[in-house]
């Protein structure tokens, strides 16, 4: 098997295992990453929501916030894990597509 094929298989395996990155933090009751709290968490942490943060935090409405489908927040880990894998496939698929396009434009041909 070509090395690139092997590495793509490796990426696919990592994608299928990615829900580990969702389940283990949940199990250990670990919260958001440092500095990535939502506005309501900020209220609890410092007692107020900084005005600029409040205004800007809802600036962008991501189509799949937090690698999940909108409205699936309460659906439980099996659903969230499935959404996580689908997110990984879509996100990595798009990333790979863009890098191939950029690479095709930039790279020297025939070498």
């Amino acid at each position: 098997m070509k090395i690139t094929t092997k590495l793509w298989v490796g990426i696919a395996v990592l994608i299928l295992l990615s829900p580990i990155g969702l389940i283990i933090p949940e199990h250990f009751k670990a919260g958001s990453a440092w500095g990535e709290w939502g506005a309501d968490e900020m209220q609890k942490l410092v007692g107020y929501i900084p005005q600029g943060l409040e205004k800007l935090s809802s600036l962008w409405n991501a189509p799949m916030p937090d690698y999940a489908f909108k409205g699936w927040e309460e659906k439980g880990l099996p659903y969230l894990s499935a959404a996580y894998i689908i997110s990984a496939i879509l996100g990595i698929g798009l990333t790979v597509l863009i890098v191939f396009l950029v690479g095709k434009i930039l790279a020297k041909k025939g070498e």
Binding site: L7, P25, A30, W34, G35, P50, A88, G91
Partner: protein
């Protein structure tokens, strides 16, 4: 380390967008000169690896989470400029599609994770692996050290960016407008977590990947790229 919208004031967000413009321009100019068509699949694999590694959140029990960036590997294999492009694409997709990292913070997040991290990692790897044969264990160690130092420098920098906000922007009564934690909290928090936990994850994945490639495809390892 994905700074969300609302944590950095306009001055900082704007500064890093402006700082990234010449870096992105230089990256495309240099990659155009050095990247060979047959290396494009590896660049895509590097971007995919970085993306998926960032999804493996590692908990600090009862506390916060974090993750490796996986970007030092691409820098070792393809050079820091190519890695800069690959990680930038991953970060932009994460911000736009998944709201992971803010739109206004794309400049800062790219500066930390797509510029500082691969460059620091790349030069540490070159220094530690200097003159080592392709199959030497020193290359595996060099990759681990490079991953560890690369992500930690990036995390420290993110801590500084967070920590400057209460100095730069606050109301007359002293309430912060953006990130409320100053340098004395933000830098030790970001640096500490990465020194203790997430830095080791970056070190291990980078070292293991290099060890695997030494066995399977040593031709990918020469210190090519600029």
């Amino acid at each position: 380390m994905h700074i969300p919208d609302g944590y950095l004031g306009p001055a900082t967000s704007g500064f890093f967008y402006v700082a990234m413009l010449p870096i992105w321009t230089a990256a495309s100019r240099i990659v155009k000169k050095t990247l060979k068509a047959r290396q494009v699949p590896m660049l895509a694999i590097g971007a995919a690896f970085s993306f998926v590694i960032m999804m493996f959140n590692v908990p600090i029990p009862g506390g916060s989470t974090g993750h490796a960036v996986g970007g030092v590997l691409a820098a070792i294999l393809l050079g820091p400029w190519a890695a800069c492009i690959a990680i930038t694409v991953a970060l932009v997709v994460q911000a736009l599609l998944f709201g992971d990292g803010g739109i206004t913070a794309i400049g800062a997040n790219c500066f930390n994770m797509a510029f500082v991290l691969p460059f620091v990692g790349y030069y540490v790897y070159r220094a530690v692996s200097y003159n080592a044969p392709l199959d030497a264990n020193r290359r595996v160690i060099a990759a681990g050290v490079a991953g560890y130092i690369g992500i930690n420098v990036a995390a420290c920098l993110a801590g500084v960016e967070f920590g400057l906000q209460p100095l730069l922007h606050h109301t007359a009564s002293g309430q912060a407008l953006y990130c409320p934690y100053g340098l004395s909290v933000a830098v030790p928090a970001m640096a500490g977590e990465h020194l203790l936990i997430f830095g080791w994850v970056e070190a291990i994945v980078t070292a293991l990947a290099i060890k695997y490639l030494q066995k399977q495809a040593p031709e990918l390892l020469p210190e090519g790229g600029v």
